[in-house]
Symmetry: D2
Subunit: 272 residues, 4 copies
């Protein structure tokens, strides 16, 4: 911007703070803040640190007597915390943002693509797989509640189609979504593993013919409905003592339809 | 499909019903069904009937002892009900789908674009405006709970920017979302009207210069934060005796940022 | 909008026409207009008329000496033509919009979901299938050039996977896209049929078990790479004398990967 | 995947190469490959290196006598080149992929979010801004043609609205897209700067009140139509001797409409 700056900055510092006006409508606001902020973050998990592009929503509550919140403070918070994000570090953010904005409660949502390097099942050849991760944190009444959600692409093969057909079975890409609340931190990769081992087959970035043969036959030998996948995964999650609540969803992008089949088991604590 | 049909249909009718298998995992499923079905519907509101393209999600619960649901029945339900949809008729669907699938509970979500013809504020010239409508219905314990959500595009003008600047004020397209639960049916258009009259200005498909002058000046005289818009709308909704619960959200696609400002007031009944 | 209208409309009619200013930058503009207008249209094809929601882009060229175009005239054009759209009627629109805006050239793009009722292959049960249609028209040098593009979901089954595996074969939802230029009007449904009969199998909204058996076995007996599908479709299109140019694309949402396989044959006339 | 691996790998290496079959349809394919691969890349520009998530499409041509291409080689190429991407390094990729796949021609498209740290115009406070970058490269007849496209969010303020209104002027977020072909490499940041200095005002992640006052007044003093922005930017691009061809587009997400205003100047060399 080349225009000469003609503003008297002393004066500017005294600019009226309209947001601090008292409000007469007597209506508290549950969430106010910024949405769809695209920001660089460095996220650390089992495989080490990776820089990625995150989409961030940051909200606080606003009491009935205040007209507006101070939006710029949310970005300042991101500036101070985007270099060192992990499931553990995220846990502090909801309380921090509430304090910075003098709010009773807050909610933070950060989502990004997490890359994991996988070895193909037979050839062992290596490639990156992309998983979408959502971190959500709520702070209220002095307590913080964290949810970690991971979307895991996989293969599903239809048991009905296999059983009624003389040969073949329709199969398709499937998206497994696991949301966990836990007493101790779970790694993103632990969640991914639970999803992948309960699908008809895993998906990979790079496969050789020997892998393709293996995956095709493995899927055919492990037919699963969306209902089967959410149940098998729920059993695994119930057996992990760290997990205090979870939601499992599976969506099949059906190869014989132009719509999805979907199933969901919700065992989140009612304390939410 | 040109292949000669070699299937013995008598035999086919006796194809094994894999979905009806007993399930040993003792895990009930809260939601199972179809997602992202694109279907034609005829929707009737204040302005009469309009055919449109809907996206439909239809789910039922599945008891612990049953392996799978019967996906094709959801489409049959849509076939029987897509010609005569309205907020009123939608009210019956969740119970119907639960009965058709022998389920204890169900959830149906149908969303589509609703068109309303508007007259520009000064010239009176007519054009269509598009609003996104979401109908959601939950059936459980013999009771049905309906939510109607409408997204209304509008103009917002920033009170802070107006106050601190010697001239001008940043403004932008804003999306107001109102979700209502009501004891009596509310027309989609009634909800739209509440949103539009509480924005800095309405938006139109077609305006003449005299309309543009009016809208520019009207917005400048009605500066509102996202917080102001959700509060002003909440006051209107509280005054409507038919409404038993609501959520109001406003998202400003800020013209001085590449992210949104957002506010939300949630006064839905806890009975949900 | 409740504010009292204080504008003198006589005066308003004389509001300065800023767009008509002479421009000193000596730069013609190839396309200027409106984008992403959501508008109701009634489209007529083989099955009769259906109302739908269209997304419309309307552009004209602007000569070097004119500062701006008159955006509101595009909406007026839509108001006059949205009730009676077909591939045939669309053919007139580019020239019309150029004339209305005193422009040398123009481009119009209208896309929408087209519904066709299909009978399942064995049970004959009926349901709607959604296809996305794009109409694009260019007017320049007194000539109009029309392209009709249709996206057709289908099933593809991998020949390599079938051949190397002892049982099964990976398959997936596939999207076939056909773009045609033709000397005589082709029905949307004719284009859909060419795509569907050349896939491994068709997809349907509603199938019964006997249909699922048929589709599974039919796909297994008709394995096709993306390369095979675009070639088989290209052969069909070459044999239709009405067609003067085409593009065929196939995208497989691979069930063993989290990315797509894609192929394209481009035989559009270079006259474009 | 816990299943015991029972495949004889010696045998597997001899698995039939179905893709290498001779093809009888005598139809060359212009583009075949992989689409929508999400992959981690490290991209280097003026500000140094940043890791990001890219979406990649990689295609080659296929001669009439070959049945299929070898999809896995595209991923291998990404594995070898994703750690050191820049506009300069990208220039080699199209020829490399053509050679790896024995193809006459190729096309590579890689798009990702590029972050630049900006100082607010008055307070100087620092925050990240996100820009979308598309790299496209075509190799044919022994020559490589590269296009670099950058999307730059900005503010636009309507000259007509300002002129006809007694106070205020509608403004909105705008997206400026610049595509360049150049004889010497241009930095992404150079392209961003050209876009930003020709908008009504720049946008920032983080602004203080003094910045908001400045941006509001600056935009009011620099009203521009979409037509003005593409022309002003085109003049800048014409004056840069490195640039051999360009396209400039501007899309205003109009604050008084629910659709966009759009303009485009195309001065790409016809050699393309």
């Amino acid at each position: 911007m080349t225009a000469v700056l003609k503003i008297d900055c002393q004066y500017v510092k005294q600019l009226i703070d309209v947001q601090a006006d008292a409000d007469q409508r007597r209506l508290p606001i549950q969430k106010v803040g910024i949405k769809d902020l695209t920001y660089p973050v460095i996220f650390t998990d089992k495989e080490g640190s990776q820089q990625t592009r995150a989409t961030c929503n940051l909200y606080v509550s606003l009491s009935a007597d205040q007209r507006g919140t101070h939006m710029s403070r949310f970005i300042s918070l991101m500036n101070e915390n985007n270099q060192d994000l992990s499931v553990d570090n995220f846990r502090q953010l909801p309380e921090t943002v509430a304090k910075i904005l003098d709010a009773d409660s807050s909610r933070i949502e950060i989502d990004f693509t997490y890359f994991k390097w996988k070895n193909a099942p037979v050839s062992g050849i290596r490639s990156a797989m992309d998983y979408h991760v959502y971190l959500a944190g709520d702070y209220a009444d002095g307590k913080t509640d964290i949810q970690v959600k991971v979307e895991v692409p996989a293969t599903s093969l239809c048991p009905c189609s296999k059983k009624i057909s003389d040969f073949g079975a329709h199969n398709q890409r499937s998206l497994i979504t696991i949301t966990v609340q836990s007493s101790q931190t779970m790694m993103i990769e632990e969640i991914i593993e639970i999803a992948e081992k309960n699908a008809s087959a895993e998906v990979y970035g790079l496969v050789k013919r020997e892998d393709e043969k293996y995956l095709t036959e493995h899927a055919y030998q492990n037919p699963k409905f969306v209902e089967d996948m959410v149940r098998d995964i729920a059993l695994c999650l119930q057996n992990d003592e760290r997990i205090t609540g979870f939601v499992v969803e599976t969506e099949n992008f059906e190869s014989i339809h132009n719509h999805s089949a979907y199933a969901m088991i919700d065992q989140l604590n009612s304390s939410r």
